[in-house]
Symmetry: C2
Subunit: 357 residues, 2 copies
C-alpha cells in the first residue's frame, strides 16, 4: 500500500540551503569573539540557517507536540506502570500539571496534545478543543502475536502526523516532539534495533524503572516480537506496523510534515528518536531538519542518535521522562544560537581589534 500524502510530502523535503549556511558561517567568523568561541551555538546557527534558508532563522513561535498512544505489548508486562496511566496523563497535560507543561511554559512554547491511539474514549476532550483527535485505534495489538497494527493503520498514523506538521507550520517556527504511552520504550527499542542493526540487548533499557529480571524479560519479548514479525529494515511503514506504535508513527509524520515546511524539529528522547528513525527510513533528507535535544538515560538512545548522524546532543541531564521535556528545555539553546547569529556585533561593527595573525 502506498500513500499519496506521504509521497507528496517526501517530494517537498530538500537538503539544507547551502548558500544560507555559507552566509551564516561568514557572519559567525567575523563576530567580535575569538574564533568559534561560542562553539556548539555557532554550529547550530549554521544548521538553523540551512534548515530555514534564512540567515535570520525564525524560531520565536514554538510548540511541543505530544503524541499519545497505547501499546498491546503492555499485556506482556514490560512496564512498571499500568496502561491506564496513558489517558490519565493526557488529562494531566490538559490540566497543565505535567513536566512538559512546566518546561514548555518556561521556554515560551505552546503544547499540543494529540490522541494518536489512546485506549480510552477522549472524544469529549477533542470536541472541547483541548486535544487533537487523530485516533487510529484503541492501542496497538501485542506484537508478540502478530503485527502491532495493519499497514493501513501505519499509513494513517504517519499521514496524521504529517497533517499536524503541515497545519502547525502555519503558526509555528520551531517544533519539539513529545510522546506519552505506557510501554512505549519497548516498541522504540524494537525499532532502534531493526533500523540501526544493534542487538536488542544493546538497545533496551529499564524504561520507567524495571529491575534486572524484568529487563531480561523485556529484551526477550522484543527479540521474539522481531522474530515473529520480521520487519523490513528498508521500509519505515513496515517497521512501524510490525513493532511500532501509533504515537511513534505520529511523531514520524510530524517530522516529515515539519521538514517539508523547512521547520527545525527538536527531537526529544528515546521514543521521539524512534519516530525520527521511522521518518528517516521513509525519507533520509529529514535528517537535515533534526536537532537532537538531549541524551536520554536509556542506553540505546546513543546508537539511535549516532545512526542519525548526531555525535553529541545539546543537553545531557539524565532525563528519561519523554513528553517532549528535553525538546522544550533545548528550545532556549536554539533561541540562544539564533541570538548569537543575529545580534552579536562583528569586529568591524564593534570597533574591536582582531587577533594577531
Amino acid at each position: 500500500m502506498s500513500s499519496n500524502v506521504i509521497e507528496r510530502t517526501k517530494k517537498k523535503i530538500f537538503p539544507q540551503d547551502s548558500s544560507a549556511r555559507e552566509l551564516a558561517k561568514a557572519r559567525l567568523d567575523q563576530l567580535a569573539v575569538p574564533p568559534w568561541a561560542l562553539g556548539d551555538l555557532m554550529d547550530l546557527g549554521i544548521e538553523l540557517a540551512g534548515m530555514t534558508a534564512n540567515i535570520k532563522p525564525p524560531v520565536a513561535r514554538k510548540t511541543v507536540v505530544v503524541m499519545a498512544g497505547d501499546h498491546g505489548i503492555t499485556k506482556s508486562g514490560v512496564s512498571k506502570f499500568p496502561a491506564e496511566v496513558t489517558p490519565q496523563m493526557v488529562y494531566n497535560f490538559i490540566n497543565g500539571g505535567a513536566g512538559i507543561n512546566a518546561l514548555a511554559k518556561q521556554a515560551g512554547a505552546d503544547v499540543h496534545v494529540v490522541d494518536m491511539g489512546v485506549n480510552a474514549d477522549l472524544r469529549k476532550l477533542a470536541e472541547e478543543g483541548k486535544i487533537i483527535n487523530k485516533k487510529v485505534g484503541l492501542g496497538t495489538n501485542n506484537f508478540l502475536e502478530g503485527p502491532a497494527m495493519s499497514r493501513a493503520m501505519a499509513v494513517r498514523a504517519v499521514e496524521s502526523g504529517i497533517e499536524i506538521g503541515e497545519k502547525l507550520s502555519e503558526r509555528y517556527d520551531l517544533f519539539g516532539t513529545g510522546d506519552m504511552g505506557i510501554g512505549n520504550t519497548t516498541p522504540s527499542a524494537a525499532i532502534g534495533s531493526v533500523v540501526t542493526g544493534k542487538s536488542v540487548a544493546e538497545m533496551t533499557g529499564r524504561g520507567t524503572g524495571l529491575d534486572d529480571e524484568q529487563l531480561v524479560k523485556k529484551i526477550s519479548i522484543i527479540e521474539q516480537g522481531i522474530e515473529v514479525n520480521k520487519p523490513n529494515k528498508r521500509d519505515g511503514l513496515d517497521i512501524l506496523s510490525k513493532v511500532g506504535g501509533f504515537e511513534i508513527g505520529g511523531i514520524a509524520g510530524l517530522i516529515l510534515g515539519a521538514a517539508a515546511n523547512r521547520k527545525p524539529v527538536l527531537v526529544d528522547g528515546f521514543i521521539s528518536t524512534a519516530g525520527a528513525l521511522i521518518a528517516y527510513v521513509i525519507e533520509p533528507f529529514v535528517r537535515d531538519y533534526l536537532i537532537f535535544s538531549h541524551r536520554s538515560v536509556e542506553p540505546g538512545h546513543r546508537y539511535m542518535q549516532e545512526h542519525l548522524g548526531c555525535k553529541k546532543p545539546l543537553l545531557d541531564l539524565n532525563l528519561r521522562l519523554g513528553e517532549g521535556t528535553g525538546a522544550a528545555l533545548a528550545m532556549n539553546i536554539v533561541e540562544a544560537s539564533v541570538a548569537v547569529l543575529t545580534e552579536v556585533a562583528t569586529f568591524q561593527e564593534a570597533s574591536v581589534a582582531g587577533a594577531d595573525k
Copy 2:
C-alpha cells in the same frame, strides 16, 4: 592585612538549609513521573531549595555581572589579542553588541559591567551610569616581576565584589558571573594550579587561540610567575595578589556577597571558576551557593570544577568566550528546575496511578 568587610561577610555565609532540601526532595519524589525521571533538573531543584532556604526558590530576577580588568602579564605575550581589546569590549557591552548581551537578553537577565581595573579611563561611562566603577588600578603588574598587585589592592578588589553582591542582592534572585580581560586565562591557570595542586601544564590551555609554541611559552611564564611569587595556597588574598587579576578578585567578592545573601550563583567558565576558587579558599562554605553552568574548552576547567565538588556542569557546548555567556545560557535550566519543583503535579494531585511496587 585583614579586612573587616571580608570577615563580616564570611560570618554571614551558612551551609544550605537542610530542611528546605528535605522538603524539596519529598515533593520531587511524589511528582507524577517515573522515579527521578527529570534527573539533573531534580538534583538542581534540591540545591536551589537549600541555597535559598525556600521550597519555591525565587530565581526570576536575574543578572550577569561582567567584571573587567587588564593584566600586566600581557606584556610577556600570552594572548593573541592586544590589551586594548579590554576597554573596546567594555564599550561593546554597553552598546549591546557582545555575546553576553545576546545571551543575557535571551535568558531575561540584566547585564552589569564593572570596571575592576581596565587600563583606560572609563570614568565618563561610570558617570553616565553605564558601568559600575570599582577600579583598583590601571591593570595589574606583570607577575613575572613580582606580585600582580599589593595585598591591599587584593583586599579592595574582593571588597568591591562583595559590595556589588550585597547591593545587587536587593534587586536580583539569581547571579551569573562574567569576565573580560585580555590575558586573563593566564592568571586563572596560575590560580587553578596553586589551589588544586595540578601542574601548570595540566591547567593551561590555548586561551583565545595560541599555537603549540605559544602554549609552551605560556606554561613556562606561569611556572616562573608561581616560582617568583610563591603564593600561599591557604590564603586566597595572597594567591590573588601574587598571580591574580582585579576582575578575578571582583568575581570572588561577588560570590562571597551573593552567598552571604543566600543567592544562587551560576559560575561561568575558566576565569569565573578561578574567581570561585579564590572565594572558596577565603570561605569554603561558598561552595554551597555555586552552580556550575558549563565546561569550558580550556582543559584545566575540569580540575577547577572537580576541586569545587562539581562532577558534571549543566552544559557542555564547547564554549570558551567568557563574559558570562555560559552562565546566562544556564539560567534557563535553573528556571526550568524551579518550574519542575513548583509547577509539576504529584501523582495524587493529578490522579495518576503510580508504579507497581
